[in-house]
Subunit: 205 residues, 2 copies
């Protein structure tokens, strides 16, 4: 539809879909915080008018809901994968731990936004409730693995779950995909390190 | 100096010291973000006039510097404690891990602020540099313990340090002192759980 070169003009021709508009909105939400983001900020970042944005979505809360849904769908999807549903609780828990780290890195901006949500709107409160639900399902797996005798029982399951997610979620603070610079860690190495550290620990003895 | 009942009046009589003013300022910085906090917000939260605040400090950046210094002094203090300086690297690392978690909980608002600093002002850039310095000193201990053969060598030391601090720092997201409600974890249990999880892992087998 757009001729070569025409994309450098401002305002940009609106070739967005709700999904591609999302990627722009999520970056702005992360940069400015959801509360601190106005439709004007979104319009400027996308290079299209506010009315063009309203053509795609009802407003910024719908963009937040779409972004958070993408993160939650990916996370809850893990729990329906065969290796998360069948087998010994310990193996399922290790699998879910690894996949949660992988999904965080694969869907980095969306999961980052989910982790930063604090609950001032209905959408944010819904996001927090769904996130707690995910954590609780993993905590249940952890309890089952402890009941099987496969996990130490001298650490409270709720506390262990919090620390496990604390470690996984902290990856969002520093991980950047395709980071070519020195000291860059590949996603699979990071997920593997999380599983080793959380389940076997750092110590050799 | 103030008579009973007089403290309910607005504006409040200025009985602050730089230190007690800090406790108020830190709460506001955490609530609104440092960038989003004005002297007007601080004045309202403290219940004293802006000129009274200027009587104690030069401005909000000095309050940030004082708050961050308190967190950093406590953290760097750990590295000078006898058990952090003497003995096998593994034991020193476990000690520093436990004490870092303890200091985070004991100085919760100050360390929370340090962890949220992003680097838009000189003070913030200094804070980030000092925080990295602390992380690097712990990473050195971790490398030494791995060289001693006491830590697994199949996880990169820098990555292991990041995950270790990720787990410790995540405590700031949910830990609240004196939390009487169900499921509250005592600080010493939390620090103990961090050490167990990080060094021995969750698995029994």
């Amino acid at each position: 539809m757009s001729e070569p070169g025409s994309r450098t003009a401002t305002p940009k021709r609106d070739t967005y879909t709700p999904e591609s508009l999302l990627a722009v909105a999520v970056e702005v939400f992360i940069e400015r915080g959801y509360d601190g983001t106005s439709m004007e900020h979104l319009s400027r970042a996308a290079g299209i008018s506010k009315s063009s944005i309203y053509h795609h979505v009802r407003g910024k809360e719908e963009l937040l809901r779409l972004a958070i849904s993408r993160a939650l769908d990916a996370l809850f999807g893990i729990l329906r994968e065969p290796d998360a549903e069948h087998g010994r609780a310990l193996d399922r828990l290790e699998y879910v731990t690894r996949r949660t780290a992988e999904v965080l890195m694969a869907e980095l901006p969306y999961v980052t936004l989910l982790l930063r949500v604090r609950g001032n709107t209905d959408t944010e409160r819904w996001a927090m409730a769904r996130r707690r639900e995910f954590d609780q399902q993993v905590a249940e797996l952890l309890k089952q693995a402890a009941a099987d005798g496969d996990l130490r029982n001298d650490v409270d399951a709720r506390l262990a779950t919090r620390l496990l997610f604390g470690m996984i979620n902290s990856i969002a603070e520093w991980y950047r995909p395709h980071g070519g610079r020195a000291g860059h860690h590949e996603g699979e190495d990071v997920a593997e390190a999380v599983v080793k550290l959380a389940f076997a620990g750092l110590r050799t003895t």
